[in-house]
Symmetry: C2
Subunit: 299 residues, 2 copies
């Protein structure tokens, strides 16, 4: 833990200068022109800095949800509003975190975890009043969808399409999280709990990824006017698996698009399509969450 440390600047941090210093010296210690606290941890910062909102953006980890889970717990317990773009804590402990936020009378928002800049969660909550949502089915992982689209349009085997996705930066060096269906499962858990009021964790889902899908499967589906997509589905159970859907189905989106279909009792099937990820898009979701917290405060 020798390399723990935190930068704190009450007037606001000059991110450009900080990044420059990190690039040149390998640390954030700097030249003394800003306050650097040797040995200070993120939890310390959350507890000690007088702030109203904590924004948690560490990477998703699905075994224990750490370090995000500890950050979110500490922040909620300290009475901070929390905006979280990290799916790990939610996939593992969402009901408990919602309860903790409620108990401490603070706002807990996580729009960026599902759909990137596409306001999937807010849409279902704010725009579908008066209709009952009967089921949700969705394409929530851009990497898998890119790979399946490429396999479909160009007849490429999985391995080649994956290599291409990695080259374009759509897929990680270890693609298990995406093509194994785990990213889709996280997002489905979050959406279902938020929109349908379930209390799921990722352990409750049956998860099958796309590793077993062959160009022959895709060709066979095409001969029936269908495409194969990695679909997450709740309503009569919750699962993630490759499914055949008609070419004309609203979920048949190509490339890295995400799409989510809400089946409603009175407004029909409503589908939201957008870019599922991206730094700028996720940042826009954080901004929206901040605006909402500000508004809730103002009341």
């Amino acid at each position: 833990m020798d390399n723990l440390g935190a930068v704190m600047v009450p007037e606001g941090i000059d991110i450009q200068r900080l990044l420059e210093s990190k690039r040149l010296s390998g640390t954030l210690r700097g030249d003394g022109s800003w306050e650097y606290h040797e040995g200070m941890s993120a939890i310390d910062v959350i507890n000690e800095v007088e702030c109203e909102v904590v924004i948690e953006t560490t990477p998703t980890e699905l075994k224990r949800g750490e370090p995000g889970l500890s950050h979110v717990k500490a922040a909620l317990t300290a009475g901070r509003h929390v905006i979280c773009t990290n799916k790990g804590p939610l996939a593992i402990a969402m009901p408990a975190l919602m309860e903790l936020a409620h108990h401490n009378d603070v706002v807990f928002k996580f729009s960026g975890t599902v759909g990137g800049g596409t306001p999937v969660l807010d849409f279902a909550k704010k725009c579908l009043e008066g209709s009952r949502i009967k089921s949700i089915c969705a394409i929530l992982n851009g990497t898998s969808n890119y790979i399946l689209s490429k396999m479909g349009s160009e007849g490429k085997p999985m391995k080649e399409a994956l290599a291409e996705a990695q080259k374009l930066g759509y897929a990680e060096a270890d693609p298990t999280y995406d093509i194994g269906g785990f990213d889709t499962a996280c997002k489905l858990v979050i959406t279902s709990n938020y929109v349908l009021g379930t209390s799921l964790s990722i352990k409750d889902l049956a998860i099958t990824g796309i590793a077993g899908v062959t160009p022959e499967d895709i060709k066979k589906a095409a001969s029936k006017g269908n495409v194969i997509k990695l679909i997450g589905r709740v309503g009569g159970g919750a699962k993630v698996s490759p499914e055949e859907i008609p070419v004309t189905h609203p979920l048949n989106v190509s490339g890295t698009f995400n799409a989510i279909l809400f089946e409603t009792d009175s407004a029909g099937d409503i589908t939201l399509v957008g870019k599922g990820a991206g730094g700028r898009e996720t940042a826009s979701s954080v901004l929206r969450d901040l605006i909402e917290i500000r508004r809730t405060f103002a009341r």
Copy 2:
């Protein structure tokens, strides 16, 4: 005007009994078991009945917007909140009506005019905060989209596809309103004024319908990987016309679906897809508007 008349029942109207009476006797006069006011007009009802909300659902008429325009004006002037599912008054006089509602401090909602049960207008207002909407392009008329889809998938000429749409009840006996692009234009005006804050009326739009689209045009587009769709577009001018878009474009929805794409600066392109019309769907939008008015009251 001899056949003017109104039914008024303070405890609520039994619609089933009323319809039955109309079916049997051809009038709503009934057998005296409810109050029937001979000679009373809709405007009289709006002015004389003590009510908080007027719901205007007469059919769209685009020459003068009547009788809906007079109903909405009378209701707003009398200090009633108004829910309007009729596009005519809005396509012709939306800025003036918005101003009238504002002046009388009442709520004026019209969710059902665009997208049927798909909450297009609310989505843009409530879920895209923090992002600037740069342009809107959309498929807003299910009839035209059904016809173009049929021409595309089955190589049918316009006339045959139209006859089929009429047989299925998707198209009116006089299809000008739909296939001439006027319905799309109305919805585009309403969406642009509501979401982008423009002050358009239908006269400001360049409107070209789908009557000139041939199976050959569609075949030629297909050879380039494109489809032809009737698209309404605002952002650098406002117009309605058939356009070629790639098969993989999120607006490429089939059958009677509607789709609307918001181009945003920070959240990417976001598309909403749903059933564009239908009695049940429009009723669900009225219900949502009522809930919102109730909530605005409650504050």
